[in-house]
């Protein structure tokens, strides 16, 4: 038996034992794993070297150590003898537990053995629920969220949060709003209390509203500099024109100038209802504790609407259209082209995500050059087609936008658009087994890799409960992804992409962007 350390109280890097049961597998942390080799012979030679077939290693020497680590036998995880395989780890991932309060508020948490936790409130309200008149109310409210509650003034609130060393954050999107707090696991009760105050009894003082008005206006100005946001906002505004999804989260400046306390109170009263809320947590939280806290602090959340005015989400019509914001003074053109995609709960989402994984993304900083796996990325690198591109799929509850967004020089727009649409055509017609396998692997890796902390996990839980009513476990994602074959992929892509009218938005020096009819014609192939 040997433990490789200096004999001091250091972390053990390698625990070597001949007895199988001396290591308790369940006590292993995520970054640890065991390799179990049966039928290994003598381990120590006379000279105290490691005998490990096919040769001995003297581990005091650096180069021998490296050779030992790189030993192919050591590295080969023979499945029958490795303790934790990919499939096992997926299945063994802890599941989220779900409960509901009497007023309809849902509570979901996943217990991991982190010492920290993220707990938050996810509410299904966003700019999609706003009208023309109050578009931007959610965003404005977000600015006022942490400016004091009935029980704590702003400084008291900040003091409370900072004294715990916690992070209190919020975000608003088109369909969801989240208030969440990252804190130590032991501070969960205080965190839930503060969150409940922020959400239920924000003070919304007039003075603060006026001050934040200026901040909001300046932020509107500032976001003009983030051209990717501008481009994608314009994409929504044209793709879903005439529907609530066209509203940007930020709202028009006119509304920002004229919001009053009344608007915000109305907004809260119409949308912050318990059945639309989820209290989600991840990390070192115990579900029963969390439910108790929720009962204590969130039982008062209303679940009835005034005048029975329950907001209903109507389907949003997609319009194939374009919006061009030409400004030849800008150095780069930002272009996005999208078709209507699948809603969050639609099973077609998975093949579409695989298709996007096949198309991939690219950035000038990618060093792969001609060896990048995505054909479009190879082209982009080879012909210097763009500064960056990415394939995206934004899902809403019943619809989505699936597209490609790229940033390029003004002389390359036409070429890049041609090759991007060519990539779409490929995925609809000639995608091969190896492409699909690569896409599936990339998608699995990204889905799992995103969950690398309590906050992403908590966000995942919150959004899943709002979108699907349950947390979709990784094993299910895995199974759904595995079910995608080239034929399935082609069929789904043809359903959503082939010969459909796209929505295009472009910002910058876009003279070269082809006419809409030409882009529309590139959505099918005569040869097919």
């Amino acid at each position: 038996m040997g433990i490789f350390s200096n004999g001091q109280n250091e972390m053990t890097y390698l625990f070597w034992t001949t007895r199988r049961d001396s290591i308790n597998n369940h006590s292993l942390r995520k970054e640890q794993m065991t390799n179990h080799y049966a039928k290994s012979g003598t381990f120590r030679t006379k000279l105290n070297q490691m005998l490990f077939p096919p040769r001995c290693y003297g581990l005091w020497a650096e180069d021998e150590k490296n050779a030992f680590v790189g030993e192919p036998v050591l590295l080969s995880l023979r499945r029958s003898q490795a303790t934790v395989s990919y499939a096992q780890s997926i299945l063994g991932a802890s599941e989220a537990q779900l409960s509901t309060l009497d007023n309809g508020l849902r509570i979901a948490s996943e217990e991991t053995d982190h010492a920290t936790c993220t707990v938050g409130l996810w509410i299904s309200v966003g700019s999609r629920y706003e009208s023309e008149k109050n578009n931007g109310a959610g965003f404005f409210l977000e600015h006022l969220a942490f400016k004091g509650t009935k029980k704590h003034s702003q400084s008291a609130l900040e003091q409370a949060v900072e004294s715990m060393g916690a992070h209190l954050s919020t975000y608003t999107s088109r369909e969801h709003t989240a208030y969440y707090m990252k804190t130590l696991a032991k501070d969960l009760p205080k965190a839930v209390e503060l969150l409940s105050e922020v959400v239920q009894s924000s003070s919304l003082s007039e003075a603060e509203i006026e001050q934040q008005r200026g901040v909001v206006l300046r932020e509107l100005e500032e976001v003009e500099g983030s051209l990717s946001d501008v481009c994608l906002d314009l994409l929504h505004s044209t793709a879903f024109q005439g529907t609530p999804l066209s509203h940007s989260v930020l709202g028009p400046s006119e509304n920002a100038r004229t919001f009053t306390r009344q608007h915000l109170v109305e907004y809260i009263n119409s949308h912050y209802k318990a059945p639309r809320m989820v209290l989600a947590a991840a990390g070192g939280v115990n579900h029963a504790d969390l439910v108790g806290l929720a009962k204590q602090y969130f039982s008062g959340v209303s679940f009835e609407y005034q005048g029975d005015a329950v907001p209903v989400l109507h389907p949003c019509r997609f319009t194939g259209s374009e919006i061009r914001y030409r400004d030849d003074a800008m150095p780069l053109a930002h272009v996005a082209i999208a078709v209507e995609g699948a809603g969050a709960a639609n099973p077609d989402v998975v093949p579409l995500m695989v298709a996007n994984a096949i198309i991939g993304s690219y950035d000038l900083t990618f060093g792969g050059g001609m060896n990048l796996s995505s054909p479009l990325a190879r082209r982009a690198a080879e012909l210097s087609l763009c500064n960056s591109y990415e394939a995206f799929h934004t899902t809403y509850s019943d619809t989505g936008l699936m597209g490609i967004y790229f940033v390029t020089d003004k002389h390359k727009i036409e070429d890049m658009m041609h090759w991007a649409q060519n990539a779409w055509m490929n995925v609809c017609t000639t995608v091969t087994e190896s492409d699909v396998a690569r896409g599936k692997n990339a998608l699995k890796a990204s889905l799992i890799g995103q969950l690398n902390g309590t906050t992403p996990i908590c966000d995942d839980i919150g959004r899943h409960i709002l979108n699907y009513g349950r947390r979709i476990p990784l094993a299910e994602w895995d199974a759904r992804i595995d079910a995608v074959t080239p034929k399935v992929l082609r069929d789904v892509c043809i359903k959503y992409i082939y010969d459909k009218c796209p929505a295009v938005s472009a910002v910058g020096p876009i003279e070269q962007l082809p006419d809409y009819n030409r882009m529309r014609s590139a959505m099918y192939w005569l040869r097919f």
Binding site: H143, A166, Y171, G225, V230, G242
Partner: protein, 327 residues
């Protein structure tokens, strides 16, 4: 509060880049920009951007320093859109007295040297300068919409196939009709080069048979060649019918050469070298070519002489007993 050396480019709707109304006189102005400070370590943070999990990066306004000229290009592609009603100040301090413009740069559209960026008004009557991209209103195109997609609360996917089928059907049939019309026009033009009506009229000849007595041969000009129409007697018919084919240089039975045995219609061009034979001459009771002495019988077959073939029989038909149309 951070002080940032900055060039702020103001754009109006026309897409022209304007320099701010304040002057850049050879050196960069100090611009004060209130930034929303991030407290990254702990405390309260907001994610002001509309997209979940995207971090709000403070855009660094970079300085492009070229002495004396105003460069509209920013490295970080950061723009501030200003309205004269608000907000470029306090971001940029505008000096109102002298405006020094680069003489080489033409005045950009909408730029008044004295007052700076102009207010533009739009037909939609939402007045004022666009402050941010969220102020852009997509116009209502209902006038152009098909009935199935008028309702914004209905998904467009349901009617998508029907609309496409209609469009393609219309396009397809228009294409077919168009091709047909084009073909018609083209053939009309090309066929104008073919024979005209008067020429075509010459291609047929109508002959009244009652004008030709029995035993007589009449000659007509047809298609530039002589046409022999012979009214044969019974004796001639019998004689010709009983000729032994093995005697003939170009064996053809009489009934193969005539439709109605009473009438023999042949082209009067000798098959030897093209002279016109004389009717009712020669040793066989038919025709005799005087040029080289070819004898034809009453059926127009060569019997003696240098000609190799029988006289040519054209196409003819008898619409009634009195007339024959040849050609």
């Amino acid at each position: 509060m951070k002080k940032i050396d900055a060039l702020i480019v103001v754009t109006d709707q026309g897409g022209c880049a304007l320099t701010p109304g304040g002057p850049i006189i050879g050196k960069w102005r100090q611009a004060r920009l209130d930034v929303i400070s991030r407290v990254p370590s702990s405390g309260i943070t907001r994610s002001p951007s509309s997209y979940a999990n995207c971090s709000h990066a403070l855009k660094m306004l970079s300085v492009v320093a070229r002495a004396g000229t105003v460069s509209p290009y920013l490295r970080a592609a950061c723009l501030a859109v200003a309205g004269p009603l608000s907000a470029v100040s306090p971001a940029a301090v505008v000096k109102k007295d002298t405006v020094l413009l680069d003489a080489n740069k033409p005045l950009l559209c909408g730029h008044c040297a004295r007052t700076g960026p102009t207010v533009s008004s739009r037909l939609n009557a939402v007045a004022g300068v666009r402050f941010a991209h969220t102020d852009i209103r997509v116009p209502d195109f209902s006038v152009y919409r098909r009935p199935e997609v008028m309702d914004p609360k209905k998904s467009a996917q349901d009617s998508s196939d029907a609309r496409k089928v209609f469009s393609y059907l219309m396009t397809g049939s228009t294409a077919v009709l168009g091709v047909y019309a084009a073909k018609t026009v083209v053939t009309q033009f090309i066929s104008s080069m073919s024979a005209s009506a008067d020429v075509l009229a010459l291609s047929k000849i109508e002959i009244k048979l009652s004008d030709i007595p029995e035993g007589k041969n009449m000659t007509f000009k047809w298609r530039g060649k002589p046409l022999f129409v012979r009214h044969r007697t019974e004796k001639e018919i019998a004689t010709e019918a009983s000729v032994n084919l093995s005697e003939l240089r170009d064996p053809q039975h009489d009934k193969d050469r005539v439709t109605n045995p009473k009438w023999v219609i042949v082209i009067g061009v000798c098959t030897h070298l093209g002279c016109v034979p004389i009717a009712n001459a020669g040793e066989y009771g038919g025709y005799y070519c005087p040029c080289h002495g070819s004898h034809y019988d009453a059926s127009g077959r060569i019997r003696k002489g240098p000609a190799p073939l029988n006289l040519e029989v054209p196409y003819y038909e008898f619409p009634d007993d009195e007339t024959v149309i040849v050609g």
